[in-house]
Symmetry: C2
Subunit: 190 residues, 2 copies
């Protein structure tokens, strides 16, 4: 998606070690118009799948998942990383390594909102190693639902996430696909 | 706002001790259409203030702040509770008591996105004691900006937040104002 790539080139910062700083428009400050356009684009690409619910992970997945949900007219669930007191005792819980935190984090979904037989569309901000998204897949499958598609705003193809998701046999779409982050530069796949 | 009140009456659960469970449409599962309608309503009520930026707190403030931002065409910043590695060393940081966590949490904003002289509109999911929102006010003021308005989806008027915000002398709007939560019931102000 041209608009997103241009914004990454303009404002994104390659901090080294594969870390891309996009917190001026994605995950601290959010550009709502860009996020709305990304949601519209995900909706266009995934409309044919007949998804019944969108699943993402707090915190930075919420914005793109919500705008996609608005354009598809579907409820969205964000997996929590800490169990709030409003959640029942029995939950779906899995662990996933956090790239930016350097440790495992919990991903928790209440069975109240992840019923049997949902067709789940997963939306997140980054597809890097795929570990967080695979965690969301496990939560969906634990509930008896199945994942029908996966979308990420930004894919870092050199971290292997796409290959890790391939066995699922579902469409994986990213709106900006980065092939290389070396010497402070950011290169996209055409 | 009628639509929100009806939804609270239908799906909200009074868990006692002033805790209202609305995680089927606000803060775990999100109804994007309702959230979009709430954003449109906030935009209508606050359009005259000339705000330049929206400020909220992760996690559950993100959805209503984002839809408000879409309708006002303004950038939104969500204060982080943990400093990510993409943030500079020098930040604006304050502490606020968390009602649902029973401890103090940090609220952190990068100076990169909270410049001098912004006119800040604060949007959050709940207005209870006002402690989180007062934390956001401190962050805005620390940066040399000023708060021009405050909006919450749900106000629990019996927890005194409105009185705590009054000295600020800015409009405070809530879309559903709860006067009483006793014996498992939820009562609204007309």
């Amino acid at each position: 998606m041209k608009e997103l790539k241009e914004r990454i080139l303009k404002e994104g910062k390659n901090l080294g070690s594969g870390i891309l700083k996009v917190d001026s428009f994605v995950n601290h400050q959010v550009d709502p118009m860009l996020m709305d356009a990304c949601g519209r684009e995900f909706a266009r690409r995934f409309a044919h799948l007949g998804a019944t619910k969108i699943l993402t992970a707090e915190i930075s997945g919420i914005a793109p998942a919500l705008t996609t949900a608005i354009h598809l007219g579907l409820p969205v669930v964000y997996a929590r990383k800490h169990k709030p007191i409003t959640m029942p005792d029995q939950v779906y819980l899995t662990l996933a390594p956090s790239h930016t935190k350097g440790r495992m984090v919990e991903l928790i979904v209440s069975p109240e909102y992840m019923a049997n037989d949902e067709k789940i569309l997963i939306i997140d901000d980054f597809l890097a190693s795929g570990a967080t998204i695979l965690g969301l897949v496990r939560l969906a499958e634990a509930s008896g639902s199945r994942v029908v598609g996966i979308g990420a705003l930004i894919e870092k193809i050199f971290e292997g996430g796409r290959a890790a998701l391939e066995p699922l046999g579902v469409p994986v779409e990213s709106l900006a696909c980065i092939t290389k982050m070396e010497d402070g530069k950011i290169e996209f796949r055409e």
